[in-house]
Symmetry: none
Subunit: 541 residues, 2 copies
Amino acid sequence: MSTANQIWLYDTTLRDGAQQEGISLSVEDKLRIAQKLDEMGIPFIEGGWPGANPKDVQFFWQLKEQPLTQAEVVAFCFTRRPNILAAEDKMLQAILAAGTRWVTIVGKSWDLHVTEGLKTSLEENLNMIRDTIAYLRSQGRRVIYDAEHWFDGYKHNPDYAMQCLKMARDAGAEWLVFCDTNGGTLPHEISQVVKEVVRSLLEDSATIPQLGIHPHNDGGTAVANAIAAVLEGATMVQGTINGYGERCGNANLCTLIPNLQLKLGYRCLEDWQLAQLTATSRLVSEVVNMAPNDRAPFVGRSAFAHKGGLHVSAVQRNPITYEHIEPELVGNERRILISEQSGLSNVLSKARSFGIELDKQDATCQHILERLKTLENEGYQFEAAEASFELLMREALGQRSEMFQVKGFQVHCDMLKWTDMPYSNALATIKVVVKGEEILEAAEGNGPVSALDNALRKALAKFYPEIANFHLTDYKVRILDGSSGTAAKTRVLVESSNGKERWTTVGVSTNILDASYQAVIEGIEYGLLLKSTAKTAVTSI
Amino acid sequence: MSTANQIWLYDTTLRDGAQQEGISLSVEDKLRIAQKLDEMGIPFIEGGWPGANPKDVQFFWQLKEQPLTQAEVVAFCFTRRPNILAAEDKMLQAILAAGTRWVTIVGKSWDLHVTEGLKTSLEENLNMIRDTIAYLRSQGRRVIYDAEHWFDGYKHNPDYAMQCLKMARDAGAEWLVFCDTNGGTLPHEISQVVKEVVRSLLEDSATIPQLGIHPHNDGGTAVANAIAAVLEGATMVQGTINGYGERCGNANLCTLIPNLQLKLGYRCLEDWQLAQLTATSRLVSEVVNMAPNDRAPFVGRSAFAHKGGLHVSAVQRNPITYEHIEPELVGNERRILISEQSGLSNVLSKARSFGIELDKQDATCQHILERLKTLENEGYQFEAAEASFELLMREALGQRSEMFQVKGFQVHCDMLKWTDMPYSNALATIKVVVKGEEILEAAEGNGPVSALDNALRKALAKFYPEIANFHLTDYKVRILDGSSGTAAKTRVLVESSNGKERWTTVGVSTNILDASYQAVIEGIEYGLLLKSTAKTAVTSI
């Protein structure tokens, strides 16, 4: 591969990403993510800080047993401590023990952090940078130098910041990376500083070292900041999958990579690897156990979702009318949302995506549209409940076979919290007909909805054992007519999963239990339909 | 106020924001958001497209009854249809009927959209722009012209795009707004195009009209795009609270405003209004019923959260070491993730807003803070439930007199919809102690929550006849822990009204009935407190 226009991607999901509030990765989690990143063709994967915690030591150890195919796994560490020899620093010994070819060394660039944070002299900080890099080079390691607080440091004291950077270069770092640690720098400032730095580096050397950028998102411009640096000559971008990271996160590689490759003509990944971006984003969100961001650029579930008849017919005639890139290039897909403003063209294209062939002339098509409008007037909403819409469509086409029929249920709740003997209980009884057999079941739960859910599962388990794998992943309630208070109509959206796929169903009623139950029942039915037809659900995890 | 460096904010949460998948706003929701934006000092609020749907017609109608204090509410509409007179276009008549001073007219700039989308000639599109604006001007309206698909159109056919823009200017539009409809333009392209446009506008006029920018976030750079346009001379920025909008959303005003005002020295809001940004972000996310984004720049819960000993001690010695701005400037707060110790000033300022005088030295103050943090850890959220927070505060101060005590309740629901004799019923029994008397009451309702609500009102009516005037105006449910499905913790927000004032209360439980009931009980208690103290509620209607 030619290196003209090449951008080297550097993923730090496993270190900086793991700093995010609420994320805690096991060694297994880290290995799974690393393997996926390797498969997608990320050349540098920062694995952690061996020596800082036992988990990171173990991760690097495991990698020796199961090495990655292509990616370089990089160990991360600070410069040596003040006033000791590099060879005597235990942290650096741990880094060498990790056995990576590449090491990233982070050092101070901002004088304030040297004197107030490290409590050492400006000169000793320069020595620390020099000694650490020189020592690692002498031990056969290749070094990426991460200049912490680069932009703030440069603004406060450009001379000292440049001394630090040149020290790293002269000691043998092959990459100099500008880290916007506090994340508040804006793109035009990045452009200007990088331009000045390049000019200064050229003053005492004919060739410029390779440059990189490591932005944080506190100003909401991390991706734009990375692009600004690349346009000024940086060839390494450091970020995380889904932008995970402490505070407001790091630069989101899932946004940055397609911008660089599809819009600016840089090479980051092979095309077939870029097409794995959406799957990678969703896998990582699953592993770190954070709900995926539906609105994420390029890879979000809503990123290419269209509603409104005019938009839909235009985008189907010519996608560039309302899409900035082809969703397939990043492994995402166009979605036509079903809403009140839907026309016939929405219904047709939706049917196609469910694998149902419909003819515009067909009376069924008009029938579905009318049924849709009636239900939406009653408060149903299918935009976010595509599984319910598919069931509706199959019913109109006579393709919905009855898997079970709920005859009725009773729920009883006691809540005696404020008495001398606190007591609270929720009990549901349900009658279901499955394959001609009438089943009566009862179950308890944390509340009335979970009691009902449990009772239904109990009743169906004998006939459909796969139900054991289904679980509810989200449950949302919305009142539809504010003025009627608790007597108002309620809409419930339920998201279910079988561990591989997710789907959403809807229920509407003045009774919150009834609305919940409609959605729960359809969620189970849709899961069984997926299983029986081996079809693919609306959203793969 | 001097207009030097002034940026005019234009919020389109109520129109473009409402296009987001999963958001559906009632007229009451729209009014509540508009009032908050008005209070925060947003000068232009786009209210919707009157004529496109009955809800928007009603919204503008209601605003005539309850006008905002300062903000201009803007009606949005397309240019007239091809080949008719502007005065004959029903859409434009609906716009005039909305009775706003300002109208935003969106028109095509991209030749492809004229010929393929509108299916008319390039010349007729120019006529449509001219006629529409001229007609509205003749009817006394002031016009903002929104140039749809500006950047894509300009890239494909700059001459035609400029003809459209100049036509809008010459017809009397006071603002020309560049809309990046597909949202894929990058900041450096925005800079370049705006620079060229300004040059071209200066060719045939000595003064440049006022310019604006309306970015979408498909490339993940909407905020940076707005900043790029402002740096080239745009003085209006259009965006939404929390970046809501279709696909990947609009420019997030909660990110954009502090960047412009705190970093670039522009004036958007008064300082005390900027300090309401975090509260506004959270209120709007509650009203639209979307979980707030903890990682959101400036206003997210994690935006100023620090973990790790080094960061924490550094940031406590000198905040600029790891914070790009002071969190208080946007009404947010620093959070120290190991040892929580902030928020005292929040409690003090909130107490003041309730008319309660508290001393920082007072032990009660620390006690309230601890209680608040405990409850927030359990899932309570008081940003949108200030009535519950006031009750909590009064309890700590010994100022909460017990008006009634609920000993317990039972709820029974039958739902036999699918049997031969459909039958559905919800029945609640409640035991309450009021003024020493034990009352047992039962009532039916549309569902379990309304049955409980009815039973409580029946039990209290004899003692507090004013309860007859109370009614519930909104009821929202959110699941807090997605992975546990129907067994997860649920947070319920209940909004109540006495016809003059509105207030919101909160309840949290794994049992949805219990959570609902906590909120309903506090709602009634707060209403009685209002009556007894003749104080003013948190929000006047």
